[in-house]
Symmetry: C2
Subunit: 105 residues, 2 copies
DNA sequence: TCCATAGTTAAGCATGTGCCTAACCAACGG
DNA sequence: CCGTTGGTTAGGCACATGCTTAACTATGGA
């Protein structure tokens, strides 16, 4: 969980993810629009793989990377959980305010 | 965006958010379950406020913090956008494979 | 076989992050 | 007033992060 959000907290890595939503890509293809050395891209890729957001296989001398959408869903679920939990609380806010009023009067 | 995910990438800050989904809290209340000095909690709080996930007002000598759920929704929307974009691509995957087969034969 | 391509490893550096302690300020409460 | 409570500021330390360059490996083609 920590790792997923930490991975997403970097703009470069989010760009890589966006690229991968449009289909698989080699390491070089990922690096091309990034104005950054290849080793740097590799490191980002390792971060993305380590937390399960991306998978990659090497065939010959080219490594092909693709998205692992369950990883994204993990983060999305946490956020949704918090938000709906909060909304739930809002639903009870009326009751709470009534109780407060009751105490005061 | 960067800042939101960076804020969420820390377990302590996520705990603080979870706490705040259950209602507003003072700085001390936020710090209580966290086995960490008060200044440290303050810094986390500043991070959460800087990226719009939390708001706080000071009344007398106690600062009361509450969630700003639009911030969470921002992150959630990005994730959802990526995921649905990917699913969209999957919808077209059949066509792509057919095209590939066509090329090969 | 030899060179170019695609990727990988290693080492190092600058900056950022998370935490601490110590000192400080500001509102109550008596 | 004066101490206590709740918060804030300042400074510093240890470690993590993002990037670099240089050197290396391994595959594929002429």
């Amino acid at each position: 969980m920590d790792q997923v959000f930490k991975a997403l907290s970097d703009g470069t890595r989010r760009e890589m993810i966006e690229r991968l939503t449009r289909g698989p890509a080699s390491v070089g293809e990922l690096a091309q629009p990034l104005s950054m050395s290849l080793p740097a891209v590799m490191q980002h890729l390792q971060v993305l793989e380590a937390c399960g957001l991306v998978r990659s296989e090497k065939a010959g001398r080219v490594r092909t990377c693709h998205l692992e959408p369950d990883g994204l869903r993990l983060a999305e679920d946490w956020l949704g959980g918090q938000r709906t939990g909060w909304e739930h609380r809002l639903d009870r806010l009326g009751d709470f305010l009534n109780f407060d009023e009751g105490k005061r009067s």
